[in-house]
């Protein structure tokens, strides 16, 4: 069975506590989840997510507070808009958009935390290892447009 590396960015005000609750109430969640505590889901900038994939992650899940419950008023609003755009960008440059997931888990939703990460783990297991660091699959890549270079020098 393929055991993916999954990075979970958890908002300290809700999902991190939700994950704690899942643990204390003996809900099982897959061990492939590496939890990283962030001050807000809005703090998880696209660079951080791309970096996670650069470092060999197979999936990244971002969990934040429900809309309207952000500790900082509008942090999760930004996340709600940014993650779908990031998914489209990553799809264009060769990463399955299913490898990034955004969901809302409040501090009292231990059940939901367990359910969401289990689901996500199964999705990634079905997708297999990420090909983000791939090399040499033999795409015919166009070479430098020499006319452009010559013109620039002339």
């Amino acid at each position: 069975m393929f055991e993916p590396k999954i990075i979970a960015f958890l908002c300290t005000w809700c999902s991190y506590t939700g994950a704690d609750l899942a643990g204390t109430s003996r809900k099982s969640s897959p061990w492939n989840i590496r939890a990283i505590r962030t001050p807000c889901s809005g703090r998880v900038s696209p660079e951080i997510i791309i970096k996670a994939f650069d470092e060999g992650a197979d999936g990244v899940i971002v969990l934040g507070c429900h809309i309207g419950e952000c500790h900082y008023d509008s942090g999760n609003h930004r996340t709600a808009k940014r993650i779908p755009v990031l998914k489209s960008l990553m799809e264009l440059v060769g990463l399955e958009p299913e490898r990034i997931r955004l969901d809302w888990v409040s501090a009292s939703e231990g059940d939901k935390f367990s359910k969401v990460v289990t689901e996500f783990n199964e999705t990634i297991q079905a997708l297999g290892p990420a090909k983000w660091l791939t090399k040499g699959v033999g795409v015919d890549v166009p070479v430098l447009d020499e006319t452009k270079v010559l013109q620039r020098e002339g």
Binding site: A80, P84, G94, K135
Partner: protein, 286 residues
């Protein structure tokens, strides 16, 4: 004809001290154009307007206004597409619209640097012949001496859609591998104007100034992402790229996504990008 009108208007602006500086185009030694800053009425003969006027001069506004201090106006020559960049900058409070005198040029397209018979790709399907905002409009259209032609589509553009994600990753890695990190794309971009670029700081934790292929890919993806909802598609980044990376392909894709998700097109009006505002109505991601 437009050059003549432009010179007369610039002369009037400088002579009556309505503006301190006129940002326009002048002829370059290679017969193309280059950006030009005019401070004195007697220098206006250097201003030109022709089919090579490709630069997006909105780029220079912010710094020029800062240079002038608390008062003083700057006049700038803007093509219709460049006025979209101006709208973005005004919406983000990067520049004070009251300190800019926009000389809007009616435009029927600019040609490629390396093939003066062909319009640039962005101009082929451009519907925008008149500026969106202007304080003075120079409407006389120069007759297009070039045939618009078709897109110079490289074969990969049609094949790309069928690639698997692994092939797409490989494709972009091969392109980004050529990147020199010369930052020409960033320097020429009118909306890429952070005082200190995230990708050039040596204390950034997630990105670096290095030249490994991962860091180069991160630079391009990060930059494209920062432009989402702000890029107006002037394609200057791709034009100046010394190694011909198809940067605009990414920017166009993100512009489509923003339009699909939020119904927003950058620069049509002076309103900020939806990525900077709170969710409302049916806008909801997840």
């Amino acid at each position: 004809m437009q050059t003549k009108l432009l010179q007369e208007h610039a002369q009037m602006l400088l002579d009556t001290a309505q503006v301190e500086c006129v940002i326009g185009y002048s002829l370059s030694p290679r017969g193309l154009t280059r950006p030009m800053f005019i401070y004195r009425g007697e220098d206006v003969e250097q201003l030109v307007w022709n089919q090579h006027s490709s630069h997006n001069l909105a780029k220079y506004l912010r710094e020029k206004i800062v240079d002038l201090g608390d008062t003083g106006k700057v006049a700038v020559v803007l093509k219709p597409c460049d006025t979209k960049s101006l709208n973005v900058l005004v919406a983000e409070h990067k520049i004070d619209r009251l300190r800019v005198h926009v000389i809007g040029m009616a435009c029927s397209g600019v040609v490629k640097d390396n093939n003066q018979e062909r319009l640039q790709d962005r101009c082929v399907e451009c519907e925008m012949k008149q500026p969106l905002v202007y304080d003075y409009l120079i409407a006389a259209e120069h007759t297009p001496e070039v045939s618009p032609g078709e897109f110079d589509q490289d074969s990969w553009q049609t094949e790309f859609e069928d690639y698997s994600s692994e092939q797409k990753a490989e494709f972009w890695l091969a392109h980004f591998d050529r990147c020199l990190r010369c930052y020409a794309c960033r320097q020429v971009c009118p909306v890429c104007d952070c005082p200190t670029c995230l990708f050039e700081r040596d204390d950034s934790l997630w990105v670096g100034p290095g030249s490994s292929i991962q860091e180069k890919r991160m630079f391009h993806l990060g930059r494209a992402y920062h432009l989402a909802g702000r890029c107006t598609g002037c394609n200057e980044c791709e034009r100046v790229c010394p190694v011909n990376i198809p940067i605009s392909k990414i920017n166009q894709k993100l512009a489509q996504v923003i339009e699909g998700e939020f119904g927003f097109r950058a620069g049509i009006e002076a309103v900020p990008s939806p990525l900077l505002t709170v969710v409302s109505g049916k806008e909801y991601g997840g």
